[in-house]
Symmetry: C2
Subunit: 225 residues, 2 copies
Amino acid sequence: MKTPNKAGKPRQALDQVSELTTNRLSVYLRCLNALEDAGVLTVSSQSLAEQFHLNAAQIRKDLAYFGEFGVRGVGYYVGDLKRHLRQILGLDRKLRVAIMGAGNLGLALADYPGFRQEGFEIAALFDNLSAKVGQRSRGGVPIHDIHDLKKIARRDGISIAVIAVPAPSAQHVVALVVASGIRAVLNFSPGTLEVPDDVKLKSVDLTVSLESLSFFLAQCEGDEK
Amino acid sequence: MKTPNKAGKPRQALDQVSELTTNRLSVYLRCLNALEDAGVLTVSSQSLAEQFHLNAAQIRKDLAYFGEFGVRGVGYYVGDLKRHLRQILGLDRKLRVAIMGAGNLGLALADYPGFRQEGFEIAALFDNLSAKVGQRSRGGVPIHDIHDLKKIARRDGISIAVIAVPAPSAQHVVALVVASGIRAVLNFSPGTLEVPDDVKLKSVDLTVSLESLSFFLAQCEGDEK
DNA sequence: TTTTGTGAACTAGTTCACAGCT
DNA sequence: AGCTGTGAACTAGTTCACAAAA
């Protein structure tokens, strides 16, 4: 075969895996967790697709890109594939996350249980209000002064930043994040942020999401013929 | 010309506008707001593209699909195009939003200033804890019992629901939302939710987003040859 | 027989490039 | 001259369908 890379270590070109693909890998991992909890040992792309409304060929293609994890005639071993996916997604280690902005949203995200799963640790909150600095979130995440970001990011080995500051400060804050050596950013502020090419930025834009729903509703009304 | 629909009222087929397109319409609207605030009266697709890192042809194509809003040799009138976009996105009226779940995340979203802009109104929070029912968010959004959802959704004319409940209750809650006649849902809980075909579901999956960033970081490390 | 891994076919989305309007 | 609106070309992403492996 001439798959891009065989079982062992997929350290190689992998030029540019589409974001759609990486998102799906994460979804597959969640499906496998559910199956494992249900005591399922082995699963075919077929049955995975049926249970979780996915496409079997796409599952196979996504997985095959990273190695030959399946067994013909059998399917995939759930535990085995989970392990591979966790390794591919870089979840085989603890990743520390900092949240920029200890406002409503930042504090809520800091204590969000979904984050703690799968190896993420919310290590710190950062804010510029001295009243907040030194406090902790309800869940116990310490709030630091944003000026100490570089120092603490290094000390705590923070590799991901979440931007939860008001829109007008977002670009400035993301610049500090980048300057502190963090190379992956999840942005909740509306609008566009500039980051260098070697930094990965993912944005969750609530305004865009809501307006897109609004469009759908407006269309429905129009359709009422 | 035979554009799908001319200026007047774009009430027609519009079969299935891609979600990528509707998201961009929302982005364009934000760009126009910025330009208007800066006192710009007219803008070409070219300059819009340069300023906001978009593609000029795509802007033109997206807009042209809904009508001929531009003027050849001139570009688009900012105020005029804003008005058209707001109408297309259904923002030419107040849309009321309910948030399901008055936990950390629900309360944070209820008071999130980004939502209030552009005609959205967070009208209500819903929870099943009697200790919370009757209270209000810091910003003053009332917390209702989830059993009153149908009644209050009708009374207040709520057309969008945001799911901010823990993952295990999400499917149940979304079923209540659908039963109450709401047809647009923004979901923050991880995992898949089932909704009927005539209900629009948009999901923001924080786990998937973070894991996708983790993948990127893992790749970078691998690249260090 | 069952099910993977994968070329080939197809579908969706983006960008180019230019005719035609102002 | 300048810029839109749009067919045509291109690129990306998905699904099909089947040979080969277990």
